[in-house]
């Protein structure tokens, strides 16, 4: 008997890998191991529509959830993988169950960072449906103020949703502007201004010293400068850590997540995809780990195909990542992978109108295009970027 392919993580990356295995003709057994007790929901609505109450939780389904049967996968929920050994390809669950795999897809995603200190009621992260519903229940109690710690995309979306629910919101960011580690400062400043224009108390360059409690419930956030911001609800959005604890002693190379080559291969017979995977993106000639919805699906498919290629060289996974973020009535979208130090060129519209497209430039290269309520521009630019990262065609596209 041939051992099954084992996929760890039943979210976008994992299920997409199964889809690709089946599409590529793999007829053998596929086992999907998932720590959560339910099939993970689609995550983007958790900071947007489900939190706002405009989408039923049951409607927040991953695209492949509807086709699970067709994928003929043995999905085992509530199965947390505790360890793996790359030499023997043995997988061990937290309950002691062992599985022998012919190939392994690592798709365990990432888990939110938390603030140090004891657990307090009223303090939330947003990653799973349970997280979202717990936060929603606290918002429904009508807090005087919500403090969002961290103005990354998820923090910014939660702040926007809370504001649209009519709540007072303080958005704290330790850096001088939101997202400055990953995007040029102009973009972060725009996001800060957008939130201010909607009445959010945005505070930049302020560190968090700790949380104040009233019994076992949070009562405020103490800032590094000594100020206390009273709040009954605190949402922590300070980034995520790739979920690789189960791989610590496995022999799978780890760094910024699982370290893969340009074909998404991490070790013989072991591929990785999604938030957990860092790979060499040949299109950019850079190593990257991308925490985005579409990327998890595309890379999951590439990882599945890589596994099918077996001992062959496999296909490189070349990609121009794309994502969206909805805040208030603004739809922000970005194609590419700019860095904080790239030049920003406004191609269309203006920051003042809150409707624009900008391109990021590094030398002769366009590293990405970001649009606010300019979906067409972003998608057209992406099509060009897929062909090449040359600056000239992008500039031409908008002239």
């Amino acid at each position: 008997m041939v051992d099954p392919v084992v996929v760890v993580g039943a979210s976008l990356g994992g299920l997409s890998a199964v889809d690709a295995l089946r599409a590529g003709g793999h007829d053998g057994d596929v086992v999907v191991l998932e720590a959560a007790d339910e099939l993970p929901s689609d995550r983007p609505p958790l900071s947007k529509q489900v939190l706002a109450g405009t989408m039923e939780p049951a409607a927040a389904r991953q695209p492949l959830a509807a086709r699970l049967e067709e994928l003929r996968a043995d999905v085992r929920l509530g199965f947390r993988v505790e360890s793996f050994d790359v030499a023997t390809r043995r997988i061990r669950g937290a309950d002691g169950t062992e599985l022998q795999a012919s190939g392994v897809v690592v798709a365990t995603g990432a888990a939110p960072r938390r603030l140090p200190g004891p657990e307090l009621a009223g303090v939330h992260v947003v990653r799973t449906m349970d997280d979202c519903l717990a936060l929603k229940a606290d918002l429904d109690r009508g807090p005087d103020r919500v403090v969002v710690v961290g103005a990354g995309f998820i923090g910014a979306e939660v702040a926007a949703t809370c504001r649209e629910l009519g709540l007072e919101v303080t958005l704290l960011e330790g850096a001088p502007a939101p997202m400055v580690r990953v995007l040029p400062v102009e973009v972060g400043s725009f996001v800060a201004d957008l939130h201010r224009s909607h009445g959010v108390d945005v505070r930049l360059g302020v560190g968090v010293d700790g949380l104040e409690a009233d019994g076992d419930r949070v009562s405020g956030v103490r800032l590094a400068d000594g100020t206390l911001v009273p709040a009954q609800v605190v949402v922590v959005g300070i980034g995520v850590v790739p979920s690789t604890d189960w791989l610590t002693d496995s022999g799978v190379p780890l760094g910024n997540g699982v370290t893969c080559d340009e074909t998404c291969l991490a070790a013989p017979g072991v591929v990785a995809a999604g938030d957990v995977a860092e790979w060499l993106n040949p299109h950019f000639g850079e190593r990257m780990r991308v925490e985005q919805w579409e990327h998890a699906i595309e890379q999951g498919a590439a990882a599945g195909r890589r596994l099918l290629a077996g001992d062959g060289p496999g296909e490189p996974f070349a990609s121009v990542p794309w994502f969206w973020s909805d805040q208030y009535d603004r739809k922000l979208q970005m194609a590419g992978r700019p860095s904080a130090t790239d030049e920003v060129h406004v191609l269309e519209g203006s920051f003042a109108e809150q409707r624009f497209a900008v391109a990021f430039r590094r030398g002769d290269r366009c590293t990405g295009v970001l649009g606010v309520n300019r979906p067409r521009h972003v998608v057209q630019a992406r099509m060009r970027l897929v062909e090449s990262l040359d600056w000239a065609p992008i500039e031409e596209l908008f002239s």
Partner: protein, 77 residues
């Protein structure tokens, strides 16, 4: 969202593209994959250019339906 504009000539193909405009967020992913069928215009709305696209576009249209982040596109035979 507004209904699709019924431009484009039906060419007797059996494939029919249906977009659920209650779900569609106009993020234009579909347009990137099948620009002959889907277009997001300057008003930020999605327009279906051909509701019954010719057979040779089937692969693109199916791919667009697969990649639509809102799963708003269905292809009926």
């Amino acid at each position: 969202m507004q209904p699709p504009s019924p431009t484009g000539e039906p060419r007797g193909a059996e494939m029919k593209v249906v977009v659920n405009f209650d779900l569609c967020e106009s993020n234009a992913v579909c347009m990137g994959i099948a620009p002959e069928v889907f277009e997001v215009r300057d008003d930020d709305f999605l327009y279906v250019l051909q509701e019954e696209p010719p057979e040779e576009l089937r692969e693109q249209v199916t791919e667009a339906a697969r990649r639509c982040p809102k799963q708003a596109i269905t292809v009926e035979d």
